[in-house]
């Protein structure tokens, strides 16, 4: 077999196999809170990428060091609808008081009720807030 043909075949095998792969990504790994346009409210942004064809919604959350929820506000919302392979920037707003205990900003995939799959993977990826 010609070497070039081998490469082409390998490429198509890779592409076809990756068609069954469902990924979830959140960047950056570390974020820093900065002053927002509102007094006593800090803000930062994270980028969410949905490559899970089985997931349409993601829920953002802010947590302390023990993974207990911390009050926050997010734009465009704490639950984001994201089509397959779409990216979304999420702006997170935390009050200066709550920001003292906030450690993680996370996104978790949401599973639709009535999904036919027997076991489902719920993925959660976090970014860490640098003080």
């Amino acid at each position: 077999m010609y070497p070039s043909l081998k490469i082409v075949l390998c490429f198509f095998l890779l592409v076809s196999s990756s068609g069954h792969v469902f990924a979830h990504e959140l960047t950056p790994t570390y974020v820093k809170l900065r002053q927002s346009y509102v007094e006593n409210v800090l803000t930062t942004s994270v980028n969410l990428w949905n490559a899970r064809v089985d997931v349409l919604y993601y829920k953002a959350g802010v947590y302390d060091k023990d993974m207990k929820p911390v009050p926050f506000f997010a734009l465009p919302g704490d639950v984001v609808k994201l089509e397959y392979t779409e990216r979304q920037k999420i702006d997170v707003f935390i009050s200066t008081v709550e920001a003292k205990k906030a450690v993680y900003i996370c996104t978790r995939s949401q599973i639709l009720k009535g999904l036919k799959q027997k076991t489902v993977v719920s993925s959660k990826i976090c970014s860490k807030i640098i003080k």
């Binding site: 979830h24 570390y30 993680y104 799959q117 027997k118 076991t119 489902v120 993977v121 970014s127």
Partner: protein
């Protein structure tokens, strides 16, 4: 007669050669969770649901990709409840495990030795950059050899990636 055509073609080619499209990319530390194989429960006996392949099940496989070493830990929880199921009037005894099934770097081979397990959760420090495949086993045993009611049963495997 051909001269104007050649000049026009030449100018078009020159324009085409001048056009540039930029592709921008950045490589930074990040974690990607990839659900490679969805699990299926086999039902070898009336009281049992299991992902064991010898009993007709399929074990779910999750891949973690990390760009930089020592930035993340993986936290994987096998199910300890059904997300959807018919009404159950007896206890379900859950069991399961998480193991590393494949690695992209041989130095990841000690992940299973160094893992921390508590309740239904297993934690791994992702100390090497690359891909790691985790296989999850799950088993639900109903009552004392009691038959599970007919219907559809779903359970959720939770996969988390937490920065260190």
């Amino acid at each position: 007669m051909l001269k104007p055509v050649i000049v026009l073609a030449g100018s078009l080619l020159a324009t085409g050669a001048a056009a540039q499209t930029e592709i921008v990319g950045t490589v930074d530390s990040k974690c990607i969770i990839i659900s490679e194989t969805s699990g299926i429960y086999g039902n070898p006996s009336p009281n049992l649901l299991t992902t064991d392949p010898t009993n007709g099940g399929v074990k779910p496989i999750i891949r973690y990709d990390v760009i930089s070493a020592d930035f993340y830990k993986a936290r994987i929880a096998y199910p300890n409840t059904f997300s959807t199921a018919p009404t159950l009037d007896d206890v379900v005894n859950w069991d399961g495990s998480v193991t590393v099934s494949e690695v992209s770097d041989s130095t990841m081979s000690d992940y299973d030795t160094n893992k921390i397990t508590y309740n239904n959760v297993t934690e791994y420090d992702l100390t090497v950059a690359g891909s790691t495949w985790f296989t999850i086993a799950s088993e639900a045993d109903y009552g004392y050899t009691k038959s599970l009611p007919a219907g559809s049963y779903n359970a959720v495997v939770e996969a988390e990636c937490i920065p260190l």
